[in-house]
């Protein structure tokens, strides 16, 4: 079964708006990563957050982690057409930190 699940499955927003997507996971983790996948391409790493961190920023991206709720969120501020992509969270399992488990992603469409 999948360790991480993204929500919502799809999101459509206007350019300039913020996009928020969530990731829930089942078991305790060491690390959580977010990746982006443009249509027809491979995944690209966005940000890593460790289990002892609560928030990280990278440019227009903000990631939070709530280990008590086993959830993470990715916020993209001031979205652009180029942000149209699928976004995946990937988690490990505490005690097994070799493998990353991905969900099915959130597909974000930014309308011009």
């Amino acid at each position: 079964s999948q360790q991480g699940e993204e929500d919502p499955q799809a999101l459509s927003i206007q350019e300039g708006e913020n996009a928020t997507m969530n990731c829930s996971y089942k078991t305790s983790i060491n690390n959580l990563q977010w990746y982006r996948q443009n249509s027809g391409r491979g995944l690209v790493h966005l940000i890593l957050i460790r289990s002892n961190e609560r928030e990280k920023h990278s440019g227009r991206l903000r990631v939070t982690l709530d280990t008590s709720k086993k959830s993470s969120s990715l916020l993209i501020t001031a979205s652009r057409a180029a942000d149209t992509a699928s976004y995946f969270c990937a988690t490990d399992k505490e005690g097994n930190d070799y493998k990353l488990s991905f969900g099915a992603g959130t597909t974000v469409t930014v309308r011009a």
Partner: protein, 114 residues
């Protein structure tokens, strides 16, 4: 100058055939991976090699056999292809093994089994 490259990009073949997908990385990484992405976009780890040694071997049919001739290459051979093998297969690499490592993905190989 592609960091992680895969060949072929597209593969259309008949059921029962045997096919191989090749992956090469020029990043000097120690660890390489094969993932399968199905039509619903679920991305599932299949195998991982660290320094030519198999470290992750998920529950995949034994028709799938990875081979790592050296650290820069990880190939995937599939015997007796089935309809359900149709998917996009991604190769990835990371500097070291571990979930804290950034993984760099190839462009994918789109396999269609008829």
């Amino acid at each position: 100058d592609t960091a992680v490259s895969q060949t072929p990009k597209y593969l259309v073949t008949q059921m029962g055939n045997d096919k191989s997908i090749k992956c090469e990385q020029n990043l000097g990484h120690d660890t390489m991976y094969w993932y399968k992405q199905d039509s619903k976009k679920f991305l599932k780890i299949m195998f991982s090699y660290n320094n030519k040694e198999l470290i992750i071997n998920e529950t995949v049919p034994n028709r799938f056999s990875p081979k790592s001739p050296d650290k820069a290459h990880l190939n995937l051979h599939i015997n007796s292809l089935e309809l359900g093998d149709s998917a996009v297969y991604f190769c990835a690499s990371s500097h070291l093994a571990g979930s804290q490592e950034t993984q760099y993905f190839g462009p994918g190989t789109r396999l269609l089994v008829l």
